[in-house]
Symmetry: C2
Subunit: 280 residues, 2 copies
């Protein structure tokens, strides 16, 4: 698969997203089961790690390239698990991870893109957003937190902002982790069964779950209106954790390979440096 | 070894640090060679990972506990390698990593503790400083970047600041990675041999190396004057990477165990939540 996973999972610019036609149990682009996926993930890890080091090194030579992975999905869809199992294979020194919760009063005093702008990766870094500016057209829309007039213009604002970042050297990988209704129920029940998982649970999770149909509508609108040529959305079926981890790793790999970062040449005379070091 | 490594590596409050009496090839507290150390590191990883999750979870229940690992050492002493190989075993979502370079004009406009304050870990997080506020009594002292009158009062300012943080729930683990002069020469030469490592090398590294005796004096002063009861310094012999990785992991483990973070209880009725989930 050259760059095949991107094509398989991408929402066509303008849509349709058709989440009801995408089976969250599916494993597009991967033949095999859990054990094979785990082995494939282990094979991807050193490739990702090498590309990350090159990306980081290239920035010291003046490159502006950087990558931002945006993770969206319903509760329990595996955003945190993806950070742990996919990003956990990278060098943490080159990662900038931000989890976005309900905005603080200070954040609410700014335009909605302000807080995410502050969390963007610098040149050479890989950024990860666990939730993102998309909450401002998802939770905000579902809960009527601002007028329709306000949220409805945000799609175009997001597209313009993202396009400017991409022109500036940022590569955006926007991933929607797609889990099924029954799978979510099972995962929430499992959290209840384990006292060491209770801290991850809140009554609010059940309320949010009841709003699933409205979230689906809001997600489809975001995926369709904001899957653009420079910054497409990818829908990753996420009922199977092993597929989710493999697919996100593979998407990162395809994008990093396209950047093709190179180690910069030194700005010094190697022979002279060697002589000086040996002379002391 | 209960909490033994801390006692073995700690600089006694007030000193002496006696770096010349500490062999950078030594492996205090560890009997064995590379293979055994790597196996021991693999054994430590799940323990650290579990404690990290508990620390993170405890903060959602109101705990203010957090940990900051400060890494200092000469060029090539392995600060970056420690982040990669030790912190790389943790969940990156719970880590806040900052590398401090020469200060920017904005940073210079503030008190020297301003920029490090901005990079501190929040409750539940593990922070890592690759270089730190100690540069303001190390590089700054060696290069006479401010008057002696200014840098000499910084030791007490650091101690007061660190003590206040510790009283507020922060656990400080300050590690000096101690490599030998010949080992540094060998590591710099190896960087010259590999074009994919040239980006890590600058002519300045050789100049800095020439200042080794002055750095040693500055390091000893910092280790002696700022190894306090609430925030001691540890000297980790770092000629052997496998020992360095094991020792820093072990120090983290001992401190996390002392925090003894617990999963917080849920703030909901488990049976009611289960009924609601199953009823839909």
């Amino acid at each position: 698969m050259a760059n095949g996973l991107r094509d398989l999972l991408r929402v066509p610019p303008g849509g349709p997203a058709r989440l009801d036609h995408r089976d969250p149990d599916d494993t597009p682009g991967f033949r095999g089961k859990k054990a094979k996926a785990r082995a494939a993930l282990d094979d991807l890890a050193p490739l990702l790690s090498d590309l990350q080091e090159r990306l980081f090194a290239a920035a010291t030579g003046g490159s502006r390239r950087r990558l931002l992975l945006v993770l969206q999905g319903m509760d329990t869809s595996g955003k945190g698990g993806t950070v742990k199992h996919v990003i956990g294979h990278l060098n943490p020194a080159g990662c900038r991870i931000r989890a976005f919760k309900a905005p603080t009063p200070e954040e609410l005093g700014h335009h909605f893109l302000w807080r995410v702008s502050n969390g963007l990766p610098r040149a050479g870094e890989i950024g990860i957003f666990d939730r993102s500016h998309y909450e401002d057209v998802l939770a905000v829309r579902v809960h009527h937190l601002v007028d329709k007039e306000v949220w409805s213009r945000r799609y175009a604002e997001i597209n313009a902002w993202e396009e400017a970042l991409v022109r500036d050297g940022l590569v955006l990988v926007k991933v929607f982790l797609h889990i099924g209704d029954e799978e979510q129920r099972a995962r929430l029940l499992r959290r209840l069964d384990r006292t060491d998982k209770h801290w991850k649970f809140s009554r609010n999770d059940i309320t949010e779950r009841g709003l699933w149909p409205r979230y689906r509508t809001a997600y489809e609108a975001a995926l369709e209106r904001c899957s653009t040529e420079p910054a497409p959305w990818y829908v990753v079926p996420a009922n199977r954790r092993w597929y989710r981890n493999w697919a996100v790793s593979r998407l990162l790999l395809e994008h990093l390979r396209e950047i093709d970062p190179r180690f910069p040449p030194g700005d010094f005379d190697v022979e002279e440096a060697r002589r000086r070091l040996l002379a002391e």
